[in-house]
Structures are given as C-alpha cells and as structure tokens.
C-alpha cells in the first residue's frame, strides 16, 4: 500500500512538472512547480520503518522549497504591482536558484539528502532539477539574473567535486554530485534548451543506475562501499565511475565535450576553464571512489553472478556508459 501511494504521489508530481513546461505565464509556472514539490513531500516521507530522521530531511527540504517559492511569488507580485522588473527578477532568480541548490545556496542539499531514501535522492537530485532548470532561460534577457545564474553555475561546477572529496556518507556524496551536475545543466541552458533536455536525459539515466546500485547494497558510508556494494553490480558501478571521471570514450566525456565545443563557438573562455577545472577535480574524486569500490577484502560474487534482472541491469549500465557517448556525439 505504501509503495502504491509513493507511486501515485510521484506520478502526480511528474504530471505537474510536465504541465509546468507548457505554461506560458510565470505565475502558472510557479503554481505547477509548487504543486509538483508538494506532491513530493508524501513521497519523500514514505519510510518502511518511520524514524525521526525522515522528518528532519523532509522538513529541511520543505522549508527551503517554501522559502524559494515565497521569493518567486514575491517577485511576481512586485512585478505585477509596481513593475519593478529588476527587483522582481532578482527575487525570482534567487527563488529558483534556492530551489535548484546552486552554490552558494546549496546548504540544504546535503542536509536533506542524508535523511532521504535513495528514491527521494534520485527524484530531488535529478528528476526535479531538470524541470526547474527549464525555468532558467526565462531570465536570460535580464543581464543581472543571467550573470548571476552563470556565476552560480560555474561555482557549483567547481565547488561540487571539491565537497565530494569530503563526503563521509554516500548520500552526502550524491548530494554534492547533484550540485555539480546542476551547474552543468544551468550552463547548458545558456546554449539552448535542446542541450538541457539531452543532458538532463543522460544525467537522469546515469543517476538512476547509480542510485539503484547504491540502494540495492544499502550503502551508507563511502569507506564501506567496497564491502556494501553487491559484487554483481560492481562492473556497472566501475563503468559509471569511469564515466563520471570524464575518461573518454565514456558518456560523460562526450557530454562535456559538446559543452566545450559550444563554448568555443561562442568564445566563452570562463565556461571552458570551469568545465575543465571541474573535470579535473571530478577525475581525482572518482578515481578515489573507484579504488574504494574495487578494494574489498570480502570474497563476493562477480560479473554476471546475480539474477537475470540484476545481470540485465548491470549490462545495461555498462552499455549505456560505454557506447551511448558515441551515440550522443553522432546524434548531436
């Protein structure tokens, strides 16, 4: 029953988010975004064994999202009442940035994620963000907001991997990974929504694989990843880690290469520098994660040793990370 309720609320949140994409008025965009967030609350609260921690995470998430919504609504009202475009745009920009969790408004991300279940981490960290990022181009004609988003995105791309290094808990690690990728998504939005949608799809699928594997092992701490991650998923996890490291010819390298190419066409030196710096730090972080995962003293089942479903998932993950990069490059 609980699973059914989680699915129902999730579907309703998804529908509200999709509806948001087709709204032409900023007011209705705000309404749909908030409806989507509200429907997520029961989904995030669902726990098989209720304990205080779920309340802490969901409460933090709700308060922050509520504050962000207040700022957006305040901006809308201000624009409607006194046509103070700059001030209202700044308020709305602040609200959306808070909802996205971009640096320096990212403080809530790790605090919430640590108390979420893995499904919640995927939905909030990947699923919800890809819809909210679609609102960023609304402010592209306001220079103050455009620059603010740009700098926050650059900051997120560089700060995120540095914070990942210091993560003790797996969920905290995922939180900062989400911050990093949000930065990439926002940067992509400056080059066109098609880049955002393509990158969002790729990011969601990769995160889905990653989160599912971590959930199946009930991984809690980074130092225990090697022993907690199931053996039959290790090959897939290694592929994901190599992809996120930025090694060619894996998927993440190809997506970053496209961003660099687009930046070069527009002579955006800061973007190129930020992407390369972020990639370098990401490389070091994920090499560290790779080592933790592959160094396990526990003798465990290896490649293709799980059930059919597990093996299919593992192989799908490997194929996705190894070959979709080439496919994406050719399609683009």
């Amino acid at each position: 029953m609980q699973m059914l309720s989680m699915i129902v609320f999730l579907v309703m949140s998804l529908m509200a988010s999709i509806a948001m994409l087709f709204m032409s008025s900023i007011f209705w965009v705000w309404v749909m975004t908030d409806v989507g967030t509200l429907f997520l609350i029961p989904f995030l609260s669902a726990e098989t064994r209720p304990k205080k921690s779920w309340f802490t995470g969901v409460a933090t998430y709700f308060v922050v999202q509520f504050f962000g919504s207040v700022m957006i609504l305040g901006g809308i009202i201000l624009d409607w009442a006194i046509q103070a475009t700059d001030c209202s745009s700044a308020m709305m920009c602040f609200g959306f940035a808070l909802k996205l969790g971009m640096v320096p408004l990212h403080f809530w991300v790790s605090r919430s994620f640590v108390y979420f279940h893995y499904g919640g981490i995927f939905i909030v960290g990947a699923g919800q963000k890809v819809f909210v990022v679609a609102c960023v181009p609304l402010f592209s004609d306001v220079p103050l907001c455009a620059y603010a988003y740009y700098l926050m995105a650059v900051g997120s791309m560089i700060y995120g991997p540095i914070a990942m290094f210091n993560a003790i808990a797996v969920k905290s690690f995922l939180a900062y990974s989400s911050v990093t990728h949000t930065g990439f998504l926002v940067i992509g939005s400056f080059f066109g929504l098609h880049i955002v949608y393509a990158y969002s799809f790729i990011y969601c699928v990769s995160m889905a694989f990653l989160v599912f594997m971590l959930w199946s092992g009930d991984c809690k701490f980074m130092k225990n990843l090697g022993s907690e991650l199931p053996g039959y998923y290790k090959t897939g996890f290694v592929c994901i880690a190599m992809s996120f490291s930025g090694f060619p010819p894996f998927l993440d390298f190809c997506t970053k290469f496209v961003i660099i190419q687009l930046s070069m066409e527009q002579n955006s030196t800061i973007t190129i520098t930020a992407v390369l710096t972020s990639s370098l730090i990401n490389l070091i972080v994920w090499v560290w994660v790779l080592f933790i995962v592959t160094s396990s003293e526990v003798k465990e089942p290896g490649f293709l040793s799980g059930t059919t479903g597990q093996n299919v998932l593992n192989m799908s993950c490997i194929i996705w990370n190894l070959f979709m990069g080439a496919g994406f490059s050719m399609l683009y």
Binding site: F247, P248, P249, Q261, L280, V287, W288, F291, G302
Partner: protein, 449 residues
C-alpha cells in the same frame, strides 16, 4: 585494419580455451600479432600507407605498433608468476589486451580527435592494473597523481582539436602542414600533454610514483610503450604545426638537457631499484625530446632510435628488478645483492642490461645519444659541458648500481625465495634483448630518405 580484426578474432577464440591455457594462448597471440604488424613496415622515411578512412601508417607508427604488441606480450609473460598477482589473473590478460588494442589504434588513427580519445583511454587499463595489483596503499594517490597530470596536461590539446573541429570541420592530421606563425601559448598547449607523458623535466614527478606502485607487468608496459605515446604525439603534432617552432623548441631542449643531468643525478641518490630505473627513463627520454625538438632529420632519427631502444631496455631492467626483488622480497638495492649472490647468472644479466642502458656500444642507445648530441651542439656548442656531466653521472650511477648489486657484504644473510622466479620471467629477458640487435642493424629506418 586487418591487424585489428585479427586481434579481435583471436581474442574471441581465446575466450573458449581453458583458463590455464589462456595465458600461453594470449602470449602466442601477441607474438603472432607482432609478426603481422611487420607487414606495415612498408618503407622508410616519408612513405605512408592509408589503411582505411580512419587509419594511416608510416614507419613511425608501424614501429610503435610492433613495439606495443611485443611489450604487451612480454608484460603477460613476466606476470604469469602469480605470486605477486592477486585476484583473477584472467582480468590481467583482458586489461593488457584491451590496452594493446587501444594503443594499436592510437598509433594508426588519422584524426587528432580520435588520437586524443585513445590517448586518454589508455590511462584506464593502466590505472586499473596499478589499482588492482599495485603493492601498497599509496597506489591510490599515485594513480590520482598520474591521472591528474596526464589528463590535466592534455586539456589544452583537447581545446586545440576542438577548435580545429569547430572552425575547420575536421581534425585530420595527415598530409597537412600549417604555414602560420603561432605563439608560445599555442605551442605549449600542443605539446604539454605529450611532454608530461614522456615525461619531460620538470613534469616527470608522476613517473617514479607510478612505477613504484605498479606491478612488474605494469611497469614493463608503462616504461616500454606508454611513455612513447608522448614522443609519437609530438611527431604527429609537428607534422601539423612546426612552422617557426624552432624558438620554442630551444626552450624545450634547454629543459631537457637540464632534465637529463637531473635524472642522472637523482639515479645516484636512489636506494629503491624501481625509482632508479624511473629516473633513468627521465634522463633517456630527454634525449628523445632533444632530437624531436631540434626540428632536424638527424634529431628525428636519434629520437626514434632512443624511443624504440628504451622500449626494450627499460622493461628489461624492470623485469630483472622484478625477478631479483621477488627472490628477496625487497626492492632495496643493497638487499637485492643477496639474490644476485645466490644466482650469479643474474649478475651477468644485470651487467648486460646496465651496459645497454648506459649506451655502451654496440647498443643502439649510443647512436641515439650521438645523433641527439650532434643536433644540440649544432645550436650551441657549450651545451656539451652539460652533456658531458650527464655522461659522467650516468656512468657513475650505472657503475654504482652494478657494484651494489654484486659486491655488498652483509653480516645478516637474507632468505632467498628461488621458487618465486620462473623460466618465463627469464625468457622475457631474452625476448627483450633480441630486438635491440634488430634496431642496431636497421637504425636508419626512421631517416627521411
């Protein structure tokens, strides 16, 4: 193209063999592929052959391809003693074969974009080999160091070929030579990644760390072929962008001369055999850099003689150090002397390899050193003083190494583990020494005419 198809088919067939037979089968495959690769040695100098839309070979790439296949086969041969390999040995075979496959393609592709992708991809199997079979916990920082240095250093190259793709529509690097004067920032971006890979002074600090942590097979591949990727990359970039390179080349050559002296000096101070061989590689690669950046035909020939010869000698030293250190379970030179005393034939092999490393005739290294020295002195004769210092220091560390290995008297007798050395390790030495004779007699292969 035929070589790649042959490799893929052979690997597919090997999969169905017994686990025990797979090692021998893979080693034999590497031998066969090396023989097949000799078909690509079409002609010397400027001869080229286009194999398909994606691949093109000339003498520089075909010599590197043959070297890759040979060295990877040797790497499996010396690692087949499973004492120092934990986990599933077949994983090692897969990683080495994959690495070789990537290397062969890297030396054959005709676009800079694909070359970059393959160049970076070779890091993955090597990092895996060091990570899985490395000796100590410090292998993680060494992998991070190596990866950060290599990937970070080649970011400018990524930007360069991206610019080529964006503005010119292609990064095809054969049959094109830009006649445009370019600034030093561009030259730095072009060559930084390759200079780090070689490694050139002052970007060499990752190499001793990587060698110390790598297993014997990993060190053989790293020293034997992966460092040569840098030299090959420089050659290809020079095909594209060498107009007015001379002034930048003088700067790089200056650093290399200092680097050769520095490397030799550091060799004198080492007590760990692997670090000593690593710093010796830094010294020798400096001569390749001098030859390449002299922008002369003589320099190019000297550089490739060094690259290929070093590709056999340095792995030979690592194989010997692996054999010796397995016998006494230590990499300290003074402790290894117990192994040499217990097996006097090792002393002979050490002598031969040290002399080859030093460049004693008839080893082809002497030809390379002479040609490189000629190129450098032609620019500025007083550089000979520094080169003389290098020759003295290299003689000193070689002599010191041999003396420590064969002459040290210890009061405490160490236990010697004869059973941890197999015939395959010794046969690897023969397979590494024999090709040097081939290089000696065909040293003018890389000449333009």
């Amino acid at each position: 193209m035929g070589l790649l198809i042959l490799m893929a088919l052979n690997c597919f067939c090997v999969m169905f063999l017994n686990k025990k037979d797979q090692t021998v089968a893979v080693v034999n495959c590497f031998g066969m592929w090396s023989a097949f690769s000799l078909m690509y040695w079409g002609g010397s100098g400027v001869s080229r052959e286009s194999l398909s839309e994606l691949f093109c070979v000339d003498i520089y790439s075909s010599s590197m391809i043959s070297l890759s296949l040979w060295i990877c086969g040797i790497s499996i041969l010396v690692s087949s003693c499973m004492i120092n390999l934990r986990g599933v040995f077949n994983t090692y075979l897969v990683l080495v074969t994959l690495l070789c496959f990537l290397l062969v393609q890297c030396f054959m592709v005709n676009t800079l974009a694909m070359f970059y992708v393959l160049f970076e991809s070779t890091l993955i199997p090597l990092a895996s080999i060091i990570g899985i079979w490395g000796g100590q916990i410090e292998r993680v920082p060494s992998i991070q160091y190596m990866a950060a240095y290599t990937v970070g250093g080649s970011f400018p190259l990524l930007l360069i070929f991206t610019t080529m793709e964006v503005h010119a529509g292609s990064s095809f690097m054969w049959f094109i030579s830009m006649k445009t004067s370019l600034n030093w920032l561009f030259w730095g971006g072009c060559f930084l990644g390759f200079l780090i890979k070689l490694p050139a002074f002052p970007f060499h600090s990752w190499l001793p760390k990587a060698h110390v942590q790598a297993p014997v097979g990993g060190s053989v591949i790293l020293a034997g072929i992966l460092l040569k990727l840098g030299g090959y990359g420089i050659t290809r970039m020079m095909m594209l962008f060498s107009y007015t390179l001379e002034s930048f080349g003088i700067l790089v050559m200056s650093f290399s001369i200092v680097g050769s002296v520095y490397g030799a000096f550091m060799c004198l101070r080492q007590s760990d055999i692997k670090k000593l061989i690593a710093y010796s590689s830094v010294s020798h690669m400096a001569f390749s850099i001098m030859g390449l950046f002299s922008c002369t035909e003589v320099g190019m020939v000297g550089a490739y003689i060094m690259l290929v010869s070093h590709g056999f000698i340095s792995p030979g030293l690592f194989v010997l150090s692996g054999i010796n250190s397995e016998m006494v379970h230590s990499r300290k030179i003074k402790v290894m002397s117990d192994g040499v005393r217990a097996a006097p034939s090792l002393g002979f092999f050490w002598l031969v390899m040290i002399m080859a490393n030093l460049g004693v005739p008839p080893c082809p290294v002497i030809i390379s050193e002479v040609l490189s020295v000629v190129c450098v002195i032609a620019l500025y004769p007083w550089v000979f003083v520094l080169l003389l210092m290098y020759f003295i220091l290299s003689g000193a560390y070689s002599f010191s190494l041999y003396c420590q290995l064969t002459r040290t008297k210890k009061k405490i007798k160490m236990k010697v583990f004869f059973n941890e050395v197999t015939l395959k390790d010794m046969s690897a030495l023969y397979f590494l020494f024999y090709p040097l004779a081939e290089v000696l007699f065909k040293w003018d292969l890389w000449a333009m005419m």
